[in-house]
């Protein structure tokens, strides 16, 4: 039934496109909503529907979670991008949705691969054809090329491994392949496992395959970036859970799990320092996405119930936060036309709603209590301590502490400091179509902060489906672990209470010592008199100090993207020599090389 839904999305969309030929977003949203609501009311059961070929579709509880995230993100995104997109955009978007649904409900290799490819290609065309980058500096061609090349590599790796698995098990069913993967010990299972894992890491943007993420996020249409970050980046996690989760639970796979945990930690570190370096709102959020997803992988590598709960919590949180932040950023870009921190600033009193939105977003993103972001991190940390992986813990504490800097940079660069290129007199609050979904998202972030236990019920269902122990749930307001508990409800109340008391106290002083409302330029500036032209906004430079720290400097200076491009170009050059008759340029040659490599992989797969 759910796979039918997925197909129905396609159908719906095609009907709209072919018959109505205008995009009626209201109808679309309504349809989406209905389709979202109905599976929720379903029980968490497995459903099969044999299709043509031997396609089998089934939606596990995990698949449902991811489908829900995607659908809700899509719904909010459609609302936010009301009336700004063309027909083709919607067509592609829904094609991608359909691909995603096929992927999430796939029961066999072919449908899995099909969904994967539909999703990848439609999202590629989406961001490439409807790019938001009008800045000539942005290297749009390179970004697209990088994205598609890496996607191709990932797809071919996957194809090879899937063929290999088919060859081994004689069944197209994913479950059989997974069972085989976990059944075989030693090298034969490691190599396909690692190859497959690389494919998934690539989709989620883990090191060293993260290079496509920042450019893509930066150049995708603003609201589509929100969707990319909130929903599409989760596909890698879904696939990882599908193929490898029992693997990391397996006692014998300690080293591999440990390796994955470290990959997560290192990715987070690199991405965080890169994010601090960004001068572009969407670029910063893109790197931050990479970092946040990396925590999820680290948590999944730990593999305990608490860690899985933390991973899922973190993932849901990340979707909420990134939707919120990208929506607001999209709204700001729409209002001001500026994307960089050195162009913005001082908008707080003109855009109070967006300010509060970003504030909620960054508090949750930095993982600070009392909002929801903390509790995901808390579960991950606690599970790491319980597991005894203290060095990994240190490895992820480093980026999550450094994350404070980019969080502060995000809010400072846009709202605080002084206005630079945007005239504050003309600035207006972001439009209501961004405000409504942002408000909903803010409310849910605060609600999850107040009642972190709310997430435990669905998480427990998922955990029992995976055959893991469920997490103890004492009250909606608190989280429990073997080694301690935390009450979000209490934290929020205590903080709020203290805050109120001190605010009242301060206001009492206000009678005796009134606050003088000063002009924006009337600041302690060493006796000097700043003028409107004085560069007082610190938007670009904020975080530059981090670069002088040895480890951060080493990370920031190196660019994997450039290295990849260099390798690609050199490879292309060589190929051009070898195949002089080939008319294409280096980049096309690289693709050809990849195709060749894939064919070899395929052959090996078939033969083996």
């Amino acid at each position: 039934m759910v796979s039918a839904l997925a197909v129905f999305f396609l159908g719906t969309h095609k009907i709209i496109r072919e018959l109505l030929s205008i995009v009626s977003l209201a109808l679309l949203t309504g349809l989406l909503l209905m389709r979202i609501v109905s599976p929720v009311s379903d029980d968490f059961t497995w459903q099969y529907m044999p299709g043509f070929f031997t396609l089998s579709f089934s939606l596990s509880s995990f698949g449902l979670l991811f489908a829900l995230i995607a659908a809700i993100s899509g719904l909010l995104k459609s609302f936010a991008s009301w009336g700004i997109n063309s027909k083709g955009y919607h067509a592609l978007f829904h094609l991608m949705m359909g691909g995603l649904m096929i992927l999430l409900s796939a029961g066999d290799y072919i449908s899995f691969f099909l969904g994967w490819e539909i999703m990848t290609w439609s999202s590629f065309m989406l961001f490439n054809n409807f790019s938001s980058a009008d800045d000539p500096i942005e290297k749009s061609q390179d970004t697209g090329f990088l994205f598609i090349t890496l996607s191709l590599i990932s797809a071919l790796l996957m194809l090879g491994v899937l063929f290999f698995l088919y060859n081994r098990t004689g069944s197209m069913n994913i479950a059989d392949g997974v069972a085989w993967l976990h059944g075989v010990k030693g090298l034969p299972s490691w190599i396909p496992g690692l190859l497959l894992m690389s494919a998934f890491f690539l989709k989620s943007g883990l090191l060293p395959f993260h290079v496509w993420v920042p450019g893509t996020y930066r150049e995708a249409p603003h609201t589509f970036t929100a969707f990319l970050s909130a929903a599409l980046s989760k596909v890698g996690i879904y696939a990882f859970i599908l193929f490898f989760l029992p693997f990391s639970l397996n006692e014998g796979s300690g080293q591999i799990s440990y390796l994955i945990a470290w990959i997560g930690a290192i990715t987070a570190t690199v991405a965080t320092f890169k994010a601090i370096e960004q001068n572009d709102m969407k670029g910063l959020l893109a790197y931050s996405s990479i970092g946040q997803m990396a925590y999820v992988f680290t948590a999944m590598a730990v593999g305990s119930s608490l860690a899985m709960g933390g991973a899922l919590f973190q993932m849901v949180n990340h979707s909420l936060i990134k939707l919120l932040l990208f929506f607001i950023v999209a709204g700001i870009i729409e209002r001001t036309g500026k994307t960089r921190f050195d162009q913005l600033g001082g908008l707080i009193y003109k855009m109070p709603f967006s300010f509060i939105g970003v504030l909620v977003g960054i508090i949750a993103l930095a993982g600070m209590p009392p909002l929801s972001g903390f509790y995901g991190k808390w579960m991950i940390y606690t599970s790491l301590i319980e597991k005894g992986w203290l060095l990994v813990l240190t490895g992820i504490v480093l980026p999550s502490t450094a994350a404070f800097i980019y969080c502060y940079k995000l809010i400072y660069g846009i709202f605080l400091g002084h206005p630079t290129e945007v005239n504050p007199e003309e600035a207006k609050e972001i439009s209501p179509r961004y405000r409504v979904p942002s408000g909903l998202l803010m409310a849910s972030i605060v609600l999850l902060g107040l009642f972190p236990g709310l997430i435990l019920k669905p998480v427990n269902v998922l955990l029992s489906d995976l055959g893991m122990e469920t997490l103890a749930l004492t009250s909606q307001g608190s989280l429990n672990a073997a080694s301690g508990s935390v009450s979000g409800f209490m934290v929020m109340n205590v903080f709020g209470g203290v805050f109120a008391v001190i605010l009242i106290l301060l206001s009492l002083f206000g009678k005796k010592a009134p606050t003088r409302n000063l002009h924006r330029l009337d600041i302690a500036y060493a006796g000097e008199l700043p003028t409107e032209q004085t560069p007082l906004h610190y938007g670009r430079g904020l975080g530059h100090e981090v670069k002088r720290v040895a480890i951060a400097g080493a990370i920031v200076k190196r660019s994997l993207t450039e290295k990849y491009m260099k390798i690609g170009n050199q490879l292309g050059g060589i190929l051009e020599h070898v195949r002089g008759f080939y008319p294409g340029n280096g980049q096309v040659s690289l693709i050809m090389t990849m195709v060749g490599a894939a064919a070899v992989a395929l052959l090996i797969g078939l033969k083996g």
């Binding site: 903080f495 301060l506 409302n517 720290v549």
Partner: protein, 301 residues
């Protein structure tokens, strides 16, 4: 509930008076090392009351107003999640609802809230101070987290009370049981207390007083008051975690003063690191000791 609220007020008063006393000592001690006489012991209280008695305060809108409030609220909230005493119903605050990881993160809420006010005031020097503070935090948190993680995994619990309870005799104090963790945490401790050589954030000469550049009058009064309370919270946390906790207020004061004296000695004797030097230092020596301790732990198991 009333008892808890009364206890909270008591905690605030206790930390405030302890803090003022300790920092009074700090100023006199510092003066002696400078070969000066120094101010009277209660000079900090006088300064604080005077700041509240100022007739006006600078303002840059509502967010500027809220910054010190968030800062103070963050301090007091984290104070309420630290148990002051063991084997006692007094001065426990809300510590049964939280744990060490929560506390570490709660301690950052206040400064970040204040950073918003600094940002909105529009003083670039203040923002520079904030960036330095956040950068320094990278260096401080990593060894600190490593040391408390050693403690937490060693005690099998993340609750501060339980870690404190487990240290029933002197040989069981965590500074004896986990000496490496203690040494590593001391580096972070000195940094978190804002002493030299890690005091570049508020360096008056270099960044025009750092984050507090634009605060005056009652705002500065609140910030000064919360600063001493925050220091006391950290001291008490270290007493709880490493020095075996305290069964009554006098033992608490004795132990925390011992720690404070260490902080005073380091802060008074050493010159200042630059930001990146501070982070590099913290990511070298303390981190290496910490990693060594982890490795020893798991090889010996």
């Amino acid at each position: 509930m009333l008892f808890t609220i009364f206890n909270s007020l008591l905690a605030v008063l206790l930390t405030y008076s302890m803090g003022m006393l300790y920092y009074g000592f700090y100023r006199i001690g510092n003066a002696r090392i400078h070969r000066r006489v120094g101010p009277p012991l209660w000079q900090n209280v006088i300064d604080n009351i005077k700041l509240f008695a100022k007739r006006e305060a600078p303002g840059h809108g509502i967010m500027f107003h809220l910054g010190p409030v968030i800062m103070t609220a963050g301090t007091i909230t984290s104070m309420l999640f630290v148990p002051f005493l063991k084997d006692s119903a007094w001065l426990q605050g809300f510590s049964s609802y939280g744990n060490l990881i929560l506390l570490i993160y709660l301690m950052v809420v206040g400064p970040l809230g204040n950073a918003l006010a600094v940002g909105v005031s529009g003083v670039p020097f203040g923002v520079m101070g904030v960036t330095r503070g956040l950068t320094r935090l990278i260096g401080l948190e990593v060894p600190f987290f490593l040391s408390v993680a050693l403690l937490m995994s060693g005690s099998g619990t993340i609750s501060i009370s339980e870690i404190m309870m487990a240290q029933d005799s002197f040989s069981n104090w965590n500074m004896m049981a986990h000496p490496a963790a203690f040494i590593v945490s001391l580096f972070s401790f000195v940094g978190m207390m804002g002493a030299s050589p890690f005091d570049v954030v508020g360096a008056p000469v270099e960044v025009y007083s750092g984050p507090q550049a634009e605060f005056g009058g009652k705002y500065l009064g609140f910030l000064a008051a919360q600063r001493v309370m925050f220091s006391m919270v950290k001291l008490i946390l270290w007493v709880d975690l490493f020095l075996g906790g305290a069964t009554n207020v006098f033992i608490l004061m004795a132990k925390s003063f011992a720690l404070f004296f260490f902080y005073f000695i380091v802060g008074a004797a050493f010159p200042r690191f630059k930001t990146e030097q501070a982070v590099d230092f913290m990511l070298k020596l303390p981190l290496i000791i910490g990693i060594g301790a982890v490795l020893v732990r798991f090889w010996s198991l």
